[in-house]
């Protein structure tokens, strides 16, 4: 029942934000998202006490085909909902200090996005899941399209490409779901897990689902929409896309791909895992050369999620656990990085690193926060990403030593592009064209402080996440062994 409340609060909040008018919208949205965070925290607490009774809900919806409105959050699901509900207030807060056109629609769309994302993470009926999956695309499309940065014509091309690209992937998934329904006579997750599919079927069904997820994540070579979309979106849009939305893809692999077509996964893993690792190295190398700070973060994100996806396909406990931890870590870190970019942009009206420099001389608070987030994204021990990256690389090492060595480059290359970026932006000489740089104001600190606290909390005590995810990971591995 709680899960239904969490879901509906987001939807109701979206309507309320829209009704409250342009002046109040950001405050209403912030309040409701904080309320929803409290609800999600309650859910997390219940889950950590192994009480999942309130995190499941089911009602019949459509009789033909048989579709139930069924929400079941397992350990990973509630963690992802927690991530979503923790990031949304931060994203709202980050946007609220900048005035926008038509704010009520903007914040209504953000909360609607939250509704769809929670739906994706909770739905355990394939059809319902698919609807939420598609629904999540609509608000982000409009957010990126209408409030984005940069030149209008170019942006609309980029965002349309993103929309059609991701929609194309999902339609193949729909094809896969219809096929599964005709076999199983039900969309329910547990019926799909119990389905006996021949190896041939699993082999092609794998691609029907994998393409949809790979585009969303994105996995090399399905990433071509990503850097431009992240660059052209408004910062809130980039945060939503990279912080939460791409987790839809990874989470869906865990929940809807591995246990449903395990033999297909086993058959294609050698190819897919290499693609993921190519993405890691390729993304890192390109990130080094970037001048636009948003593009740099976009490519770094591409590299990081490549590693997470590779971890998922090791199909081992360490790999899956690592992917869960790293999904959460990456969510917070990438939001922090995009926000740092946004802060700089607000002050110097540019995303170009060559126009930055010496900012630490003006803004000690900003420098501190930015440094912590930078170090977290290069996975320094005691920060959140360290545990995840370690587990992921361990999982890949168990699968194949050479691959682990190549994927391990991410540690080195990540340090290169992140620290180089930090050095060029924050250290060095003051740019003559940018003689002043105001330090953080209160609203901006209010975004960074929770981020940094979470970074350390997850880095020092990852056990909480691991413990919560463990039964769910075991269940996935168990279901795959049927």
């Amino acid at each position: 029942m709680l899960i239904l409340v969490i879901l509906s609060v987001a939807l109701v909040g979206s309507i309320l934000a829209w009704l409250s008018g342009n002046r109040l919208a950001s405050k209403v949205a912030l309040f409701i998202s904080l309320l929803n965070l409290v609800l999600a925290a309650t859910g997390l607490k219940l889950a950590s006490e192994a009480d999942f009774s309130l995190l499941a809900f089911s009602a019949s919806w459509i009789s033909q085909p048989k579709i139930n409105f069924q929400l079941i959050a397992d350990g990973i699901g509630i963690l992802m909902i927690g991530l979503t509900n923790a990031l949304i207030p931060l994203i709202i807060l980050a946007s609220s200090s900048r005035s926008l056109q038509n704010e009520r629609v903007f914040y209504a769309l953000i909360l609607f996005m939250q509704f769809a994302l929670i739906g994706v993470f909770a739905a355990s009926d394939g059809f319902l899941y698919y609807i939420f999956w598609e629904l999540a695309l609509i608000p982000i499309f409009f957010i990126a399209w209408l409030w984005g940065d940069g030149q209008r014509e170019y942006r609309s091309k980029v965002i349309l490409k993103f929309f059609i690209y991701t929609l194309a992937g999902s339609l193949f998934m729909l094809f896969g779901f219809i096929y599964l329904y005709l076999k199983a006579g039900s969309f329910a997750l547990k019926d799909l897990y119990a389905l006996n599919l021949s190896e041939e079927e699993q082999k092609w069904l794998f691609w029907a689902f994998f393409i949809a997820f790979a585009i969303k994540i994105p996995v090399f070579p399905f990433h071509t929409w990503q850097p431009e979309t992240y660059t052209e979106s408004p910062t809130a849009g980039s945060m939503l896309l990279s912080g939460i939305m791409l987790k839809m893809g990874i989470y869906s692999m865990l929940r809807w791909l591995l246990p449903v077509v395990p033999e297909g996964v086993a058959f294609w893993t050698p190819i897919v895992i290499v693609l993921c690792v190519i993405g890691v190295v390729y993304g890192s190398l390109i990130a080094i050369k970037q001048d636009n700070i948003k593009r740099l973060v976009a490519y770094s994100s591409f590299a990081h999620v490549g590693l997470i996806a590779a971890g998922v396909f090791t199909f081992s406990k360490a790999g899956l656990q690592g992917s869960v931890v790293q999904m959460i870590a990456h969510g917070f870190n990438v939001v922090g990085l995009f926000f740092a970019g946004e802060i700089i942009y607000r002050r110097i009206s540019s995303y170009h690193i060559t126009r930055m420099g010496g900012i630490r001389n003006f803004a000690p608070h900003f420098t501190t926060y930015f440094l912590i987030i930078t170090l977290a994204s290069v996975a320094l021990p005691t920060t959140n990403a360290f545990v995840g990256e370690f587990l992921l690389l361990y999982g890949i090492y168990e699968y194949n030593t050479v691959l682990a060595l190549v994927a391990g480059l991410t540690v080195v290359l990540g340090a290169v592009y992140m620290l180089r970026m930090f050095q060029r932006v924050m250290l060095g000489n003051i740019q003559p064209s940018q003689p002043v740089f105001a330090d953080l104001n209160l609203a901006e600190k209010a975004v960074f402080l929770p981020l940094v606290l979470v970074i350390f909390a997850c880095g020092i005590y990852p056990h909480y996440i691991l413990k919560l995810a463990e039964p769910a990971v075991d269940a996935i591995l168990q279901a795959a062994l049927r």
Binding site: E134, W145, L160, I164, L171, L174, F175, I178
Partner: protein
Amino acid sequence: MNALIYTSSLGIACLLAEIFNLRRWILPAAVFGLLIIIGLTIQDWDTDQSAREAALYNMLRADGFSLSFSILLMALTVLLLLLGKTFYASEAGKISDYVVLILFILAGGLAMVSFGNVAMLFLGIEVLSVSLYIMAAANKRERRSNEAGMKYFLMGAFASGLLLLGIALLYGETGSFDVVEIRDYIASNNATPLLYAGMALILIAMLFKVGAAPFHFWAPDVYDGSPTLHTALMATVAKIAAFAAFYRLFSACFTPLLNPFGWLFSAVVALTITVGTLSALMQESFKRMMAFSGVSNAGFLMIAIATLYGKTDNAVLYYGFAYGMASITAFAVAMYVFALSGSEKFDSFNGLARSHPWLAFAMTIAMLSLAGIPPLAGFFGKYYLFSEALRNGRMFLVLVAILNSIVAVYYYLKVVYHMYFFQIPDSGRINRVPFNYVVVIILTTTATVFGGLFPSAIIGWW
């Protein structure tokens, strides 16, 4: 199945009303009359089917298929008549002609969805088509409208000739016009060249009437030239009726005959979808875009015929409902916008989101539904068709349809793009939307949204 008689009587009554100088009452009378007929048709559901059929000598068959399609067609006509109040405001003198022709188009459509005899099918098609030729050319002073009427008439008359020849060949072989007798004959006898020739001619005529490739060339010019309300009529009532007749005839009679040519028919379906989608991509005019989108939608519907063994009638009905509702929203908004800007290109939608946010919202819903985005009605329409096609092993068609759905998103979103992304051309645009438009748009948008949230309400009636 008295809806046909009532509707025709209503049409004649409206003609008489003109004579008695009751011009002001024609449109309200037609709308209320149709609402009453819808009510009576819904009541028909409970009565005994065989008794009703005997009363009409099997000329019409009141099964679930014909009743539900009749209700859908009448509902669509009511919505279009409501739009007509404003559209015909400048031509009040001719309102009886228009209303009566719309009612006769509906009468033709009703005969087409419920025929039990091929002669009745032909009559229905002719009543509908002849009225539509006039409607296409209704704007007498506009050259494009004249051209549209002429083109439609010449090509349509040719198709009707082929249809009649096909029916004649069919009669020569089977000795009957009755659908059931034809079916039984085909099922129990070996196919002869005569039978194949008859079926091929009928197939070509029906492909023409629904606007399927390679017989779709009339559609864009006729849609573009006709007055917008009449384009909406063609795109919704006429198209759905033609398709329902196509489906009814082929699923009833020709399943065993078409079977060996399944691959050929699948190729036609794939061609229709692809040609419609790719051509729609290139259009500058909204109405031409809708014409090609109509071609590709006809292709989607034909997937139902290609999967002849499936129980696809529900899927066809639902798709017709979703397509009809979204199209009427789209055409209603377009009529309002075209009247303001005087242009029928995409540019006329510029800045609509700023000047009329609700209209833009409704239009966005309609376009997303046509593009098949869940959870709107259009998505379920596609879902049901795909699901039936996959169940019957038509994987190739589903893949073609999916690929085209992806492309289609682009041109549907083009409208949205113009509404949200461009500024209003000049300041004098802001104008009140007529009340009847508001009513129609609210009704159709609600139907699109709720039809998607609760598809069970429409699917599975019988």
